[in-house]
C-alpha cells in the first residue's frame, strides 16, 4: 500500500451539508446556463399549446358543432380542449425530463465535462439530483405557463376541477420519472447516441401516455404495456382530477397506490442501472469516450 498523506477537500465521508452544496451548485449552474440561451423557456411554454392545437382543430374539423358531444360520449367530458391541453402539457413535462436528464449525460460527454464530474469526489447521485431539480423547475414553470397560455388561447378554465390534487399527482409522478430518466441516461451512456433514441422515445411516449385519448381506446395488451410506463398513470390521474373524471383504475387512491409503487421501485432500478452502466464503461473504454 502506498503512503497516506493529508488529502484535499472532500476526503472522508461528506456531510449532508456538503452533499446539499453539490446539488445546489449543479442546480445553479444549470439555471445560469439556460438563462444564457435566450428564448428557451418561451419555446417550452408555447410548444405544448401548438402540440394541443393540432388535434383540437382536427377535432373541430371532423366533429363540427357536435365535437364536444361526441367526445363526451367516449371520455366523460365535453371539454375536449382542456383534455388535450392537459395531455400535451403533461407530455411536455415527461419529454423535457427525459431530454434534460438523458441528453445532459450525452452533452457532458461530448464537451468533456463528464470526465471532470467523474474526477470529483462528489457522489454522482447528488450531481444527478441537481440536474433533476433543475429539470423539475424548468418543467413545472413550462407546465404552468403553457397551461395558462393554452387556456387563454383556447378559452378554457383550467381550474374547473381539483387542481391541487392534480399538482399532487404531478409531484408524485415526477419521482418515477426521475428514475426513468436515469434508466434513459444509462441507455444513452451505453449506446453513445442521444438524438435518435430521444426522437423515437418522444413519439412512443406520447402514444403510450394517451395524451389525446383515454387509455380504454387501446386493446387490452397495449393497455397493460402503457400502464407499465409511470407517466401514463400520472397523466390519467392528473386529467381525472382536473376534469372531474374517473381514473383508469376507478378511484383516485388506486391510482395513487400505483404511482407510489412506481415512485419506490423505478428510481431504485434507475440508479442501479446507471451505476452498473457507468462501472461497465469505466471497465471498458472510459466515460470520456464518445
Amino acid at each position: 500500500m502506498a503512503e497516506r498523506r493529508r488529502g484535499g477537500f472532500g476526503l472522508g465521508r461528506p456531510s449532508w451539508r456538503a452533499s446539499a452544496g453539490v446539488v445546489k451548485a449543479v442546480l445553479i449552474a444549470r439555471l445560469k446556463i439556460i438563462s444564457r440561451y435566450k428564448g428557451a423557456l418561451l419555446m417550452d411554454s408555447f410548444l405544448p399549446v401548438v402540440f394541443a392545437a393540432m388535434p383540437i382543430i382536427l377535432g373541430v374539423a371532423v366533429g363540427g358543432a357536435n365535437a364536444g358531444t361526441n367526445f363526451s360520449e367516449r371520455t366523460g367530458t365535453s371539454n375536449y380542449k382542456l383534455y388535450m391541453l392537459i395531455g400535451s402539457c403533461t407530455f411536455m413535462v415527461v419529454s423535457v425530463m427525459l431530454w434534460l436528464i438523458g441528453y445532459w449525460i450525452r452533452r457532458e460527454q461530448e464537451t468533456g465535462t463528464l470526465e471532470s464530474i467523474f474526477l470529483a469526489p462528489a457522489n454522482q447521485i447528488f450531481v444527478l439530483s441537481g440536474v433533476t431539480f433543475y429539470a423539475l423547475i424548468r418543467t413545472l414553470v413550462a407546465f404552468g405557463s403553457a397551461l395558462l397560455i393554452g387556456s387563454l388561447i383556447f378559452g378554457v378554465n383550467p381550474f374547473e376541477g381539483n387542481i391541487a390534487v392534480a399538482i399532487g399527482f404531478l409531484a408524485i409522478g415526477l419521482i418515477p420519472l426521475w428514475g426513468l430518466s436515469m434508466l434513459f441516461g444509462a441507455l444513452i451512456l451505453r449506446i453513445k447516441e442521444g438524438n435518435s433514441v430521444i426522437q423515437l422515445m418522444t413519439w412512443v411516449v406520447s402514444f403510450l401516455m394517451g395524451i389525446f385519448f383515454p387509455l380504454t381506446f387501446f386493446p387490452p395488451l397495449l393497455q397493460g404495456i402503457a400502464l407499465l410506463f409511470p407517466p401514463t398513470v400520472m397523466n390519467d390521474a392528473m386529467r381525472a382530477a382536473m376534469l372531474n373524471l374517473g381514473t383508469f383504475f376507478g378511484s383516485w387512491y388506486a391510482s395513487l397506490a400505483v404511482m407510489l409503487a412506481f415512485a419506490f421501485a423505478v428510481p431504485l432500478l434507475g440508479y442501479e442501472m446507471f451505476a452498473h452502466t457507468s462501472r461497465r464503461i469505466r471497465a471498458r473504454e472510459g466515460v470520456g469516450q464518445y
Binding site: 500500500m1 502506498a2 503512503e3 497516506r4 498523506r5 493529508r6 488529502g7 484535499g8 477537500f9 472532500g10 476526503l11 472522508g12 461528506p14 456538503a18 452544496g21 453539490v22 445546489k24 451548485a25 449543479v26 449552474a29 445560469k32 446556463i33 444564457r36 440561451y37 464537451t111 468533456g112 465535462t113 470526465e115 471532470s116 464530474i117 467523474f118 474526477l119 470529483a120 469526489p121 462528489a122 457522489n123 450531481v127 462501472r279 469505466r282 471497465a283 471498458r284 473504454e285 472510459g286 466515460v287 470520456g288
Partner: protein, 346 residues
C-alpha cells in the same frame, strides 16, 4: 518507505473494432498498458514521457479512477484506485483534457465555483481560493467572462486553476502546455515548480523533452504501453555515458545508411530525410574512438556526400532513441497490439 503513488503490474486492454473497406469488422485486442510498475515519492515531480499512443493517458486515467485496469493494483495517497475511488479523487487535482472539461456558457469564476462544490470545498473557502488562483495565474482580466469568449490559452489556464481548486496534495497534469504559447507555457511550468517546492507531488505527462528535463526529478519513458526506462534525468543520460551521439548531414543513399547500421560500433541509427533529398543521421556510437572514422568510411564507400558532422550532448530524446530506435515524433497508436516494447536499431 513506500511512495505516495504506487503502481503494481498495472495492465489495461481494450477491445477495438477494426473497419477496413470491403472487409468484415474485426475485433482486435489493444494492450494499452502492459505490466506497469513504479512508485512516486511524496514531494517529487515525476514525468511520464513518450510519444502519442505510448499509454501515458491510459495510465493517468487508471490512476484517477476514470478507467478500471484489466489487472494489477495501484494506490494513490494510500488509497486503492479499485476500492477507494472517492478518497483517491479527493487526493488529486487533475488537468486531463486540456481546455475541455469547462462549461462554455459559464464564466471562469462560475466554473471554478461549480467544480469547487463538487470537491466539497466550503463556499467561504472557495471564494478566497478562486481569488488566490486568479492572482496566481493572472486570470483577473477574463475570469468574469464566459468561457466561450476565451482564447485556447485562457481556457487552459482556467482548466489548470480548476485542478488546483481542491488544494490536493497530488497534482496530475496531462500535457498541460499543449496549446499554450511559449511565454504562457513558461509561466505555467514556473507555477508547477513553485507548487512542487511548496510540497505538492506532481505527476506530469508530456512528449516534450525539454519540459521533462526542466521540471522532473525522475522520468519514466513509456512506449507501447510499458515503461522502457526510469530514473532521474541525469541517471537516464548517464546510462548512455559510454555512448555519444553523432549527427551527420548530407546526401546518404539507403545503402550507405544500411552500412552504418551494420557497424558493430553503432547502437542506434535514426535517419530523417528533408526536402531536397538532404538527410540527417543521428548515430549512437559506443566509446570506441575509431567509431567516427568507421562511420565516415562506411558512408563514403557507399556513395554518401557528408556536409556536416557534429557530436552532441546526450538528451532524454537520445535515451528514447537508444531504447526504441525511433524518435518521439512517431505516433505509436497503430502498433500497440500484441508486440512488446520496441528496441534496437531502426
Amino acid at each position: 518507505m513506500s511512495g505516495i503513488i504506487r503502481v503494481e503490474r498495472l495492465s489495461k486492454s481494450f477491445e477495438s473494432k477494426e473497419r477496413k473497406k470491403g472487409q468484415r469488422k474485426k475485433i482486435k485486442t489493444v494492450h494499452a498498458l502492459k505490466d506497469v510498475s513504479f512508485e512516486i515519492e511524496e514531494g517529487e515531480t515525476f514525468g511520464l514521457l513518450g510519444p502519442n499512443g505510448a499509454g501515458k493517458t491510459t495510465l493517468i486515467k487508471c490512476l484517477t479512477t476514470l478507467l478500471l485496469p484489466t489487472s494489477g493494483k495501484a494506490w494513490v495517497n494510500g488509497y486503492s484506485v479499485l476500492d477507494e475511488e472517492d478518497s483517491v479523487r479527493a487526493s488529486i487535482g487533475c488537468m486531463l483534457m486540456g481546455d475541455r472539461g469547462l462549461y462554455w456558457k459559464l464564466t471562469g469564476r462560475e466554473n471554478l465555483d461549480y467544480f469547487g462544490a463538487l470537491y466539497h470545498v466550503p463556499k467561504v473557502v472557495r471564494r478566497k481560493r478562486i481569488d488566490q488562483l486568479a492572482d496566481l495565474l493572472h486570470l483577473d482580466d477574463f475570469i468574469d467572462r464566459t468561457v466561450e469568449t476565451y482564447s485556447s490559452g485562457q481556457k487552459m489556464l482556467v482548466a489548470f486553476a480548476k485542478s488546483l481548486i481542491n488544494d490536493a496534495p497530488i497534482l496530475i497534469l496531462d500535457e498541460p502546455t499543449v496549446t499554450l504559447d511559449v511565454p504562457t507555457a513558461l509561466q505555467l511550468r514556473k507555477i508547477v515548480r513553485n507548487l512542487n517546492e511548496a510540497g505538492k507531488t506532481v505527476l506530469y505527462t508530456t512528449h516534450l523533452m525539454h519540459e521533462a528535463e526542466e521540471l522532473c526529478d525522475r522520468v519514466a519513458i513509456m512506449d507501447h504501453g510499458g515503461i522502457i526506462a526510469l530514473g532521474t534525468t541525469q541517471e537516464l543520460k548517464d546510462s548512455l555515458v559510454r555512448e555519444e551521439v553523432v549527427n551527420l548531414e548530407g546526401m546518404f543513399p539507403a545503402a550507405a545508411v544500411q552500412a552504418v547500421r551494420e557497424l558493430k560500433e553503432t547502437s542506434s541509427v535514426v535517419s530523417k530525410t528533408e526536402a531536397g533529398g538532404r538527410t540527417s543521421l543521428a548515430v549512437m556510437v559506443g566509446g570506441n574512438s575509431e567509431a567516427l572514422s568507421l562511420i565516415i568510411e562506411a558512408l563514403t564507400r557507399n556513395g554518401a556526400k557528408i556536409e556536416h558532422v557534429r557530436t552532441k550532448e546526450v538528451t532524454l530524446e537520445d535515451v528514447f532513441i537508444a531504447k526504441t530506435g525511433r524518435t518521439l515524433d512517431v505516433d505509436t497508436r497503430q502498433i500497440v497490439t500484441e508486440g512488446g516494447a520496441g528496441g534496437g536499431k531502426a
